[in-house]
């Protein structure tokens, strides 16, 4: 067993994608599931072997580089098609293939019976392969290749149920908004290549410190452009608007792409290029501020959502905000640690929510659920543990990572960011337990109260194909492909905090002046705040549910609530600022001015063609005449 099998890790999902894509409609569901899940399973087991090898016999210098081939060689620009395995990419690779495998397994249950079953798994495998490109690539061009690949896979999967135009619209929105960030990132890469002459990550890191002084302008611009890319991919302010819409995709997609892996790519990018950000304190500060604002804002928004998946989407946004905050204070290792634990518990939460949605027959509104813990106890426990990890209650994985982030933010002297994080923890507790209390406790709101209206309800339910029938109870799944992923992720969500990540060789520790600052009170404060949040949530949504209703209809609070619910009006703002002016321009230029000029050329050819075609009339005497005239002309030309 040696490291040169590394390329197989991404080759398996890639082959799975190709097989499924080319055999579409010709293979059975079971065969598609075996190929789709199996390819990621092979990758995951290979990753486990490689990881074991890496930890027991670390390669020289803490990193192994596998050169596959030279991508191109143009004027001194010769990016290598090379894979690099170090502590950071090993962690990312394990999360992607490990969590990815269990989500694939769950998806084979969730998607059973869907007409696009094989198509779904081909896209999922494409995503896994691209994501592995992203984290394994040893130069930024390779990374960018994977970066765009996951964007495409995300687009295809959000719009998976393409027959509903709304899903296609959500997919386009996600694609276009992330593309804005990607353009920033591409420009950033151009600057890096122009200034440093290479895109190899290690070379860039080494040369940047030599070429640029601390805080130089061009470096700050490059770092901020990279941040722009990260912000787009990770749904942070101001490019965060696409993530809630991305929930239009199937739930396993939301779990894999829009919670566990792809949206954390921005965190990975910044951690990977942390040297640039360290050389530019302003850019690093921006990272932290973006994270802090996003995490508080997303928390407020999650508080007002009624769609179970949107609550989780905003909570994802908020948790990635924590990771950005951690990066911003220089706590890279806790950021990656939180990335991993978040992948565990958020995947668990999303898969459980998928199970809830199927148990409720495609109903996503939490106010049409209630008391579900009696009917689907396993899912309830998964959801509860996931929420406990999300709110960072002690002994769960989230506790270790989030606590570390907040603690290091405080110790590095970023008191403002620390306060934002603390407030975010409070909000997290409120909105997470709101989800639990409303969905799994309280009255059974899905029971139809009025028998008089049953028929009408039934007709409607059949039509829209969601919601439970009149006297039906929600019932959980009983198969292993549903239970195993949930139970494994449940275990990871609890015990994932005890994993020690091999990041010491790759990422530096945060610079902490005084280790004994603050003391016990500061350490316990996040926990106290979280417990307060849970208590408030319990009071508002279980003990006294009339109060939030009254607030919702209050004179001032009504507008605040609406403002929060619309995610601080960003969609509205962008609509006014970008979409409308663009549509206006398009409207003016309806008869494309450039096109008018261009169409003149084919038109000229067409009329010339008509003229010459008319001379080909098949009359020999005309041909003879033309020849005669031609010969005369030639003679005249020669003689004169």
């Amino acid at each position: 067993m040696s490291f040169n099998l590394l390329f197989l890790v991404f080759l398996f999902p890639l082959l799975g994608f190709l097989t499924l894509a080319f055999s579409r409609g010709r293979i059975s569901e079971n065969a598609a599931a075996v190929i789709g899940v199996g390819s990621v399973g092979l990758s995951a087991s290979l990753t486990a072997l490689l990881g074991f090898q890496f930890l027991t016999h670390p390669p020289e210098g803490g990193a192994y580089t596998q050169l596959l081939w030279t991508w191109m060689n143009v004027g001194g620009f010769a990016p290598q098609f090379a894979l690099r395995l170090d502590g950071l990419s090993l962690v990312m690779m394990s999360v992607i293939t490990g969590v990815g495998f269990f989500i694939h397994l769950f998806a084979s249950w969730y998607m059973r019976g869907d007409e696009g079953f094989a198509r779904f798994f081909s896209y999922m495998n494409l995503f896994i392969a691209s994501m592995l490109f992203l984290v394994l690539g040893d130069n930024l061009l390779f990374l960018y290749f994977g970066w765009e690949g996951v964007g495409v896979a995300s687009y295809l999967l959000i719009g998976f149920w393409y027959k509903d135009p709304a899903n296609g619209l959500a997919a386009r929105k996600a694609f276009v908004v992330t593309r804005v960030g990607d353009t920033f990132m591409a420009i950033g890469l151009f600057i890096l290549f122009h200034e440093l002459g290479t895109l190899n990550i290690q070379d860039v890191m080494a040369r940047a410190a030599v070429v640029w002084p601390q805080g130089s302008t061009i470096l700050t611009i490059a770092a901020l452009l990279l941040l722009g890319g990260a912000v787009g991919k990770s749904a942070q302010l101001p490019l965060q608007t696409w993530l809630p819409d991305a929930m239009a995709g199937p739930t396993p997609v939301s779990a894999l792409i829009h919670a566990a892996t792809m949206v954390t790519a921005g965190v990975y990018l910044i951690a990977r290029t942390h040297v640039l950000f360290e050389l530019s304190p302003f850019a690093l500060q921006c990272v932290g501020v973006v994270g802090a604002i996003t995490l508080v804002m997303a928390g407020f928004t999650a508080l007002m959502q009624t769609d179970i998946k949107k609550i989780l989407a905003y909570s994802t946004m908020s948790q990635i905000g924590y990771m950005f905050l951690a990066l911003g204070v220089g706590a890279y290792q806790p950021a990656i640690f939180h990335l991993m634990t978040h992948a565990f518990f958020k995947a668990l939460l999303f898969l459980s929510s998928g199970s809830v949605i199927l148990a409720m027959h495609h109903e996503q509104d939490i106010f049409k659920m209630g008391n579900l813990r009696k009917h689907i106890p396993l899912v309830f426990w998964c959801m509860l543990i996931g929420t406990m990890a999300l709110t960072a209650l002690p002994f769960t994985s989230g506790f270790f990572s989030k606590d570390e982030i907040l603690h290091e933010a405080y110790l590095t002297g970023h008191t403002d960011l620390w306060l934002a994080g603390l407030f975010g923890a409070f909000l997290t507790a409120v909105y997470s337990f709101r989800l639990i209390f409303i969905t799994f406790f309280g009255p059974e709101r899905w029971r139809k109260e009025s028998h008089a209206h049953d028929d009408a309800h039934d007709a409607h339910a059949d039509e829209a194909h969601h919601g439970l029938a009149a006297n039906e109870n929600p019932h959980g799944a009983k198969t292993l492909d549903h239970h195993i992923p949930l139970l494994v992720l449940l275990a990871l969500a609890i015990f994932g905090g005890f994993i020690h990540l091999p990041l010491d060789g790759v990422l530096p520790h945060a610079v902490i002046a005084d280790h004994h600052k603050g003391g016990a009170f500061i350490e316990y404060l996040p926990l106290i705040v979280t417990l307060l949040g849970i208590a408030l949530s319990w009071y508002l949504f279980l003990k006294n549910p009339a109060l939030p209703e009254r607030l919702k209809n209050g004179a001032v609070t009504k507008y605040i609530g609406k403002f929060w619910q619309s995610a601080f009006g960003f969609d509205w703002l962008y609509d006014k600022l970008f979409v409308r002016p663009f549509l206006w321009l398009v409207h003016i230029n309806r008869n494309d001015i450039v096109d008018v000029v261009i169409t003149k050329i084919p038109n000229a050819f067409h009329s010339a063609h008509g003229f010459f075609a008319a001379t080909q009339n098949g009359r020999m005497r005309n041909y003879a005449f033309a020849m005669g005239v031609g010969a005369c002309l030639v003679i005249v030309v020669v003689l004169l």
Binding site: Q616, G618, R619, M620, R621
Partner: protein, 105 residues
């Protein structure tokens, strides 16, 4: 070299070009394929005449050699042409060339 009352070369060439023009006009205006073949015959002979005139001007035998070549060519052309005329008549029951204008662009 006996001095015959030499016909000026110009006269010969003018005759040749007049004949050529007449033949060409015949090809253009006639629709009957037999008359067209005859007109082509006239054009070839006018060209042959031009060769002979030129040969006489430079006192070379080449002009006459070319004349014999053209005579041979004309004979071959007439045989092929008449065979085509027969085929045309069989197929279209007419000698009008325009009736065979099927390769219209």
């Amino acid at each position: 070299m006996t001095e015959v009352t030499a016909i000026p070369m110009e006269h010969g060439l003018i005759l040749a070009s007049v004949l050529f023009a007449l033949g060409f006009a015949g090809v253009l205006v006639r629709r009957n394929i037999i008359f067209m073949l005859m007109s082509i015959e006239v054009m070839m002979n006018s060209a042959a005449l031009a060769f002979v005139v030129a040969g006489s001007r430079w006192q070379q035998a080449d002009g006459q050699i070319m004349f014999i070549l053209i005579l041979t060519l004309a004979a071959a052309e007439a045989s092929v042409g008449l065979a085509l005329v027969l085929q045309l008549y069989r197929r279209f029951q007419t000698l009008d060339v325009d009736a065979a204008g099927e390769m219209k662009g």
